[in-house]
């Protein structure tokens, strides 16, 4: 009953409240955007990375002007790296190594099911070097490349996209790629990356490209060993450049690429919300000052002090509800039109967060003014006009 009364009161003053409604609506939309960003990233973060990066270094080799016997030279470097006692495992792969800025993807198809998947070219030691568990089948070996098929390992996402519930092992993707194993997640850009379809193809030993070496070193291995490796490789292959990236550092860089924009957006939104809150607080204070007569009257005809406080909080809740209903019309378009190819649950969670924060803010803004209203002496207020 009182709610209906408050709706009527707000509705009859809708022109006066229009700016306030627009302000709350805009805040809701900003919060919805920010919450979506945060929900997506938190959701991604909660998904396992799928591999281990500690003590893994990526050694990038650039052949520069050298064009002779490149494949042999790369093979020799792999062999050399394997001889160091500090190295537990070595794997050769394409330039899109974990946490790098490079990306390669390909469309792959099975029975008219098409999946756009990240494409990695690696050798047989990749899973071992990154301590990636194989959940079905096995990681490929050179011996798997015999015949007309070339071995690949796919991740769970690619398996779901291509084969659904079917067994993927032994299936031929496209014309020549045969699935020999399935790994769970592989989020090469770090924890904040979405878990996308990916497939790993065996590197051809005769390739002169795919020159990144991933090495897992023993605990305690430091920069002295890094310098030694760089020096040794430089001696082996004159004119080549060698660059070593620690995977832990690269991961931090990738995280920063995600976190910095989120933090900046949060700070800007925070300032916006503080401004809106101060505005709301001021408007409510003013409104209460202008409505002292009404407050006195309501007290005279049966309202308690706490009833007056509840009324003012109720009014701002009604206003916020109207503003958010308009906001919902906009926000609902995102899951309906599948704007950023995100799950509807992400948008729904973001909407719920935005609603909760808006109600929280308006309640906080209304708390002090409404308490002041509750303290107004009816006898005094009724004789001020």
């Amino acid at each position: 009953m009182m709610l209906q009364h408050l709706f009527k009161l707000i509705w009859n003053k809708k022109k006066t409240h229009m700016l306030l409604i627009v302000e709350i609506w805009a805040s809701f939309m900003v919060l919805f955007g920010l919450a979506t960003l945060i929900v997506v990233n938190v959701g991604n973060y909660r998904e396992p990375l799928g591999f281990s990066y500690e003590r893994v270094w990526a050694i990038g080799l650039n052949t520069n002007q050298d064009t002779t016997e490149l494949a042999d030279k790369v093979q020799r470097i792999v062999q050399r790296l394997n001889t160091y006692p500090e190295v537990e495992s070595v794997s050769r792969m394409s330039s899109n190594f974990p946490f790098s800025a490079n990306q390669m993807n390909n469309g792959i198809e099975y029975n008219k099911r098409h999946v756009l998947a990240d494409h990695y070219v690696t050798d047989e030691n990749f899973a071992k070097t990154l301590e990636m568990p194989v959940v079905a089948g096995k990681w490929y070996r050179h011996t798997d490349s015999v015949g007309k098929y070339w071995p690949i390992v796919i991740n769970q996402k690619a398996k779901e996209g291509l084969f659904g519930d079917e067994n993927a092992l032994g299936k031929v993707v496209g014309e020549r790629l045969k699935v020999v194993g399935v790994v769970d997640n592989f989020k090469a850009k770090g924890e904040f990356m979405s878990n996308k379809p990916a497939y790993f193809e065996l590197v051809n030993a005769k390739d002169s490209w795919n020159n990144t070496m991933l090495i897992r070193v023993k605990p305690g291995t430091d920069a002295v060993f890094e310098a030694k490796v760089v020096k040794d490789i430089a001696t082996m292959v004159k004119g080549w450049s060698v660059e070593v990236d620690y995977q832990t550092d690269s991961r931090k860089n990738q995280h920063n690429l995600v976190l910095v924009p989120v933090i900046i957006a949060s700070i800007i939104s925070g300032f916006l919300l503080i401004n809106v809150s101060l505005g709301l607080f001021g408007v409510l204070n003013l409104s209460i000052a202008k409505r002292r007569g009404e407050i006195g009257l309501r007290r005279a005809i049966g309202a308690t002090g706490s009833g007056i406080a509840s009324q003012f909080i109720g009014e701002i809740w009604v206003l916020a509800t109207l503003a958010m209903l308009i906001g919902l019309l906009f926000a609902a378009q995102f899951p309906i039109l599948n704007v950023f190819d995100l799950q509807a649950g992400v948008y729904i969670t973001a909407i719920l967060i935005a609603i909760a924060v808006i109600y929280g803010i308006v309640t906080l803004c209304a708390l002090f003014p409404s308490r002041q209203a509750a303290l107004i002496q009816p006898a005094v207020a009724l004789h001020e006009e």
Binding site: M1, H5, G296, A300, T304
Partner: protein, 220 residues
């Protein structure tokens, strides 16, 4: 109906103390129509506020319908005001953003009355003051006399035993004032106990009893 005993009201600030009511003893019987007169600032409105439980006396006791209310808490006082007392003010105190009907319904909202009966009671009250054709209007569309009639409808919608009117004709011309006075007399004839503050001797003469105040003291 209303019993005031040794009522004293003192307003204190950090620098001065003002005695607004001094040793007021007043007994208003059920069905009486009493007017309170006195010069400006003599404590008429303060006395009405004390009777209407809008202000606490500094000393003395207030009894409404046999109940001493001195120890009542905010919730109980609000309930008593809502159920026993109807207020009419000189400046009407209508809510401009609500229609006439909605304004009249407000006291019933604090009784948690349901929508349909609430509307019916409000319509009945408006009918009694002759404003059933203005229900959808807003206060700004009404004359002063009509506004006061809405305020009377709001005061009587909950069927209170007591009506407290603070200069109800003070903002109206004599014709309108007479009209309002007629309505109040009719309500009194129907059984309501009315206490009215007024500056107008003619209006006061139409009531059963006159109480005069001077400098916060009852002189008649």
């Amino acid at each position: 109906m209303i019993h005031l005993q040794n009522i004293e009201k003192v307003y204190r600030t950090s620098t001065i103390e003002t005695l607004a009511l001094n040793n007021i003893n007043l007994n208003i019987r059920k069905g009486e129509f009493v007017s309170i007169m006195g010069p400006s600032g003599c404590g008429k409105s303060t006395l009405l506020n004390v009777m209407g439980l809008l202000d606490e006396p500094s000393k003395g006791t207030v009894e409404i319908d046999g109940q001493a209310v001195t120890q009542y808490r905010d919730k109980e006082l609000a309930q008593l005001r809502n159920q026993k007392i109807g207020f009419i003010f000189q400046s009407f105190h209508l809510i401009n953003d609500l229609s006439v009907l909605d304004n009249v319904e407000i006291p019933l909202l604090y009784r948690s009355a349901n929508g349909r009966p609430r509307q019916e009671y409000a319509k009945d009250a408006l009918m009694k003051v002759g404003l059933s054709n203005r229900m959808k209007h807003f206060p700004k569309q009404l004359s002063g006399g009509q506004k006061q009639r809405v305020a009377i409808a709001r005061a009587i919608v909950g069927n209170p035993d007591i009506i407290l009117a603070d200069e109800p004709t003070g903002n109206l011309d004599s014709a309108m004032g007479n009209e309002i006075m007629n309505i109040l007399q009719q309500l009194n004839n129907d059984g309501a106990t009315i206490v009215m503050v007024t500056h107008d001797e003619q209006m006061a003469k139409r009531t059963h009893r006159l109480v005069r105040l001077f400098d916060g003291t009852q002189v008649l």
